[in-house]
């Protein structure tokens, strides 16, 4: 029993790491752009398909595929910023609706390019780290955990210790005041979109060999990300990370003991309860919606 708990806990840590990458990207985009990016799950999917194309089909090394995934999806983010969010900055619902349109386009492109069937991706490594008699974790999952810790620490350093990060936080707090101080909003918007989308892309790329890659995989990702950012408080990066960990543990444990559908219902109910009791989320105070 103890082994099962430890094993499930380990699986939850893995889930928390890729969920937090996706959720932090979503929060970053919301903070700076004021737009909820409905297409975020499809950016995750795009990252996974880059791995399919570069690693599985072109037989390049896996880590090159992951970097390509980061860059490619980051550029998709830049495209969204330029083509959709910048022209619609004065229309709060517009950005959201446009991102729904972008979601459909990405999904259709994936279907046309790769077909609706699940993609087969050869495992990156068969190695399994044995932590105890009945406790083990595949090395590929360790990669995801390590990548999440490294990337989120780097992001934290970037946001809190560099000039760009400082500008980014300023324009998330008060765009007008930031602009008056000589911070280019267009510039920070680009950086935020690139990082936010890139984080979703790299999460998708890293997890691609571990999950089923298909054109509709974005749906469950975006649902999870919404739950996490609502529980954590829209606009709060720390909240998103803490909520990711909490959600991953709840979801993984409920899945293990009661099944996946009940786990999804639990997650959504948690989100509704937070929305009813404390709509700003457990850690949020910013309110730009």
């Amino acid at each position: 029993m103890l082994d099962l708990l430890a094993q499930t806990g380990l699986n939850a840590v893995y889930a928390a790491s890729y969920i937090s990458l996706v959720a932090v990207g979503l929060v970053l985009i919301f903070g700076v752009m004021g737009v909820i990016n409905f297409a975020h799950g499809e950016l995750f999917m795009a990252g996974a398909y880059v791995v399919v194309a570069v690693y599985a089909d072109m037989h390049m090394p896996f880590f090159i595929a992951v970097v390509v995934g980061l860059l490619f999806v980051g550029c998709l983010g830049l495209l969204m910023e330029r083509a959709l969010f910048r022209p619609l900055r004065d229309n709060p619902l517009g950005g959201l609706v446009a991102s729904i349109g972008f979601l459909m386009i990405l999904q259709a492109l994936a279907t046309m390019g790769f077909g609706v069937r699940m993609e087969f991706i050869p495992p990156v490594t068969q190695h399994v780290v044995q932590l105890g008699e009945n406790i083990s974790i595949p090395l590929a999952r360790v990669y995801v955990i390590v990548a999440a810790i490294v990337l989120l620490s780097a992001l934290w350093y970037f946001l809190k210790r560099t000039r760009f990060g400082w500008a980014l936080r300023a324009s998330a707090q008060d765009p007008q005041a930031a602009e008056l101080q000589g911070i280019s909003i267009a510039q920070t918007a680009k950086i935020a979109m690139f990082i936010g989308a890139g984080l979703a892309g790299i999460a998708g790329a890293l997890t691609a060999p571990l999950i089923s890659v298909n054109p509709h995989m974005g749906h469950s990702v975006i649902v999870t990300a919404f739950i996490v950012i609502i529980v954590g408080g829209v606009g709060s990066l720390e909240g998103a990370i803490i909520a990711s960990i909490a959600y991953a543990f709840v979801h993984t444990f409920v899945t293990t003991f009661y099944g996946g559908v009940i786990a999804d219902i639990t997650g959504l109910s948690l989100m509704l309860i937070v929305l009813i009791v404390k709509p700003t989320g457990l850690f949020g105070s910013a309110d730009r919606a």
């Binding site: 609706v97 729904i100 972008f102 386009i105 259709a108 046309m112 959504l268 989100m271």
Partner: protein, 317 residues
């Protein structure tokens, strides 16, 4: 007088319409009729300024309720359809308690969560709802005759007349609601909520009313769909369908009564006639996505703004 003639001509055209179409086009016409009801009821909800992502799931509530009543209790189909609408409205009232504590974006996400929970409940409980496979073999509408015309519901034409009649009655009711003092209050709740509240309008009650009425008509739409296609499952009422409804409403424009209907008709014609004939069926989500983006970027007030340009004298509405 002239108006009456136009309506009679319009009615005659509707009756004649399916006879010029192929079988599959007649089927699409039935779906279009149902979708018009769904998108029009959605507009009633948007009148109060809230954009729900649960509307299609609520429509599914009506479909499930009606299908289960005919299958398990043997209720006469039209009665079950009406009951489906009533149950959808009641579920909406229940949902309104948590959801109307939220506004704007939070309401959008909250309604999405509520809808997903309902869909997952259908998926999880195999006993009444049939699980992921849903409900199969739903009783079709029993045939009947009204003297001059025999309804044979194996024919899509008959179902089109039947559904068309119900939808027109529902649209008429929706239109009357919008033009009544209640409908004007809905507008006030959206545009002048502080003023309305200060004038003694119970905002929460009116929001709930709009939500319940819109959901009730969506439920009837769902029931019409269920008894036509004969099988429903949780996937029939997923986010993709919701996005289509949203697209119709946004492309058409929600400022007028006819806007969403126009969007629904134009996009369905574009989709079924143009795309299918040209063999671009696979591109459907791509083109819908592009149209959605293009209309929000270049035509933020929808197709109705084009119509209004040509008929400027209807400015009094």
């Amino acid at each position: 007088m002239r108006k009456a003639l136009i309506w009679i001509a319009f009615g005659a055209a509707l009756i004649a319409l399916p006879h010029g179409l192929s079988f599959s086009q007649q089927e699409i016409l039935v779906f279009l009729t149902i979708n018009i009801l769904v998108v029009s009821s959605y507009r009633l909800l948007t009148l109060t300024g809230e954009w729900s992502l649960a509307h299609v799931v609520i429509m599914g509530v009506g479909a499930y309720a009606s299908a289960m009543m005919t299958k398990n209790l043997g209720v006469y189909v039209p009665v079950a359809m009406l009951m489906g609408g009533i149950i959808a409205a009641l579920i909406a009232v229940v949902l309104s308690f948590p959801l109307f504590r939220m506004k704007g974006f939070y309401f959008l996400i909250g309604s999405f969560a509520a809808g997903e929970i309902i869909r997952l409940l259908w998926k999880h409980f195999r006993d009444p709802f049939g699980g992921a496979k849903g409900i199969k073999g739903i009783d079709p509408m029993p045939d009947f005759s009204i003297g001059i015309y025999d309804f044979d519901f194996f024919e899509p034409v008959s179902y089109f007349y039947f559904a068309g009649f119900i939808v027109i009655v529902c649209l008429w009711i929706l239109w009357r609601i919008e033009r009544s003092p209640v409908g004007l209050t809905f507008h006030a709740v959206h545009w002048q909520d502080k003023l309305a509240e200060a004038s003694g309008v119970n905002l929460r009650a009116y929001r709930t009313l709009a939500f319940a009425v819109a959901s009730g008509f969506a439920g009837i739409g769902g029931a019409l769909l269920a008894h036509y296609i004969g099988t429903i499952n949780p996937g029939s009422f997923d986010l993709d369908y919701m996005v289509f409804v949203l697209t119709w409403a946004i492309v058409g424009g929600t400022g007028t009564f006819y806007g969403p209907i126009l969007g629904c008709v134009v996009l369905t014609i574009l989709n079924e006639v143009v795309l299918r004939e040209l063999g671009f069926e696979q591109l459907r989500p791509l083109i819908y996505g592009a149209i959605l983006i293009a209309s929000i970027l270049f035509l933020p007030n929808g197709l109705e703004s084009i119509v209004q340009k040509f008929t400027k004298r209807s400015a009094k509405s």
